[in-house]
Subunit: 176 residues, 2 copies
């Protein structure tokens, strides 16, 4: 499924496979910045499966409020359909990982979600705005949607805020 | 880096990020077929980093003998350059993972390599030939290059051989 974020060095948007691989590599290299200890291998499983439901549910743009409202229902139905294809134990394992990622009740799920929000921010930074330039979106909207990074890592949230602040200063994200 | 295999449902070739994500998902779902017990999280780390050296060394087609001869030297130099960019412990960890993958001396590395050879075989099957149709390549050449799957999983190698046999019968790989 084609995502919204532009790629850093290409004239096309990234897809879910590229995005998920990028998150897996970020988990490996950034795990040391997690506020709580995390199981790196388990966190990698969470990010590898987290967007599979988009096969049926499609990509939901982060700054599309209307699409966001129907997102849980659409993705739940997609999960039932998709993970039901696999034989019993495999299907149950992938479904449990997706549920864990969505619920964000474990340190691994919180860190996985933080990577999922940090990676597009880095791509938008490299693209000098990217989806920050979505009509109607302000730098404060970006901060609000990215604050979840702070639930997993204080230093990475500090770094993310710095990029958003600097992006606003450069006019890549609107002040209001 | 753009790889040789065609994608199953697209008119373009896959790239390393897509390939590596696909391997990570295959490790999760096919680990039960490993002949020796493997640490799934560690095996996922191996596949996530295994093609990073192609950033500098480029993709080496599996059936290009001349390029294959220079591959170890080119990839070794790329590894020195690439993993040297990262701070000490991160760089050393990724380098150790890449060395482990290449050496195939652990059950995890053997299974990671098996996935690396099985995934393009599945894409070629879906594409009714794909790189099996490379000039000069026969079904026996394909069997020889894929036999490494059998070092990690007897049932997956049986399945792979079945696809190659059937591909040869259908004329997707030449008999001689």
């Amino acid at each position: 499924m084609l995502r919204q974020s532009p790629l850093a060095a290409a004239d096309r948007r990234e897809n879910d496979a590229e995005h998920s691989w990028h998150l897996a590599l970020m988990v490996m290299t950034l795990a040391e910045y997690a506020d709580e200890p995390i199981d790196v291998g388990h966190t990698m499983k969470l990010v590898v499966v987290h967007d599979l439901v988009e096969i049926y549910a499609g990509d939901t743009p982060l700054y599309d409020t209307a699409a966001g409202e129907s997102q849980p229902e659409r993705e739940e139905a997609a999960a039932d359909r998709l993970f039901g294809i696999l034989p019993g134990s495999s299907g149950r394992e992938l479904r449990a990982l997706w549920d864990e990622f969505e619920a964000r009740r474990t340190p691994e799920a919180r860190f996985a979600k933080a990577m999922d929000r940090l990676q597009p921010l880095l791509l938008n930074w490299m693209a000098k705005g990217g989806t920050w330039r979505t009509p109607g979106v302000t730098a404060d909207d970006v901060r609000a949607r990215k604050a979840v990074i702070g639930e997993a890592s204080a230093p990475l949230w500090d770094a993310a805020k710095h990029l958003i602040d600097e992006g606003e200063r450069r006019g890549w994200a609107r002040s209001r």
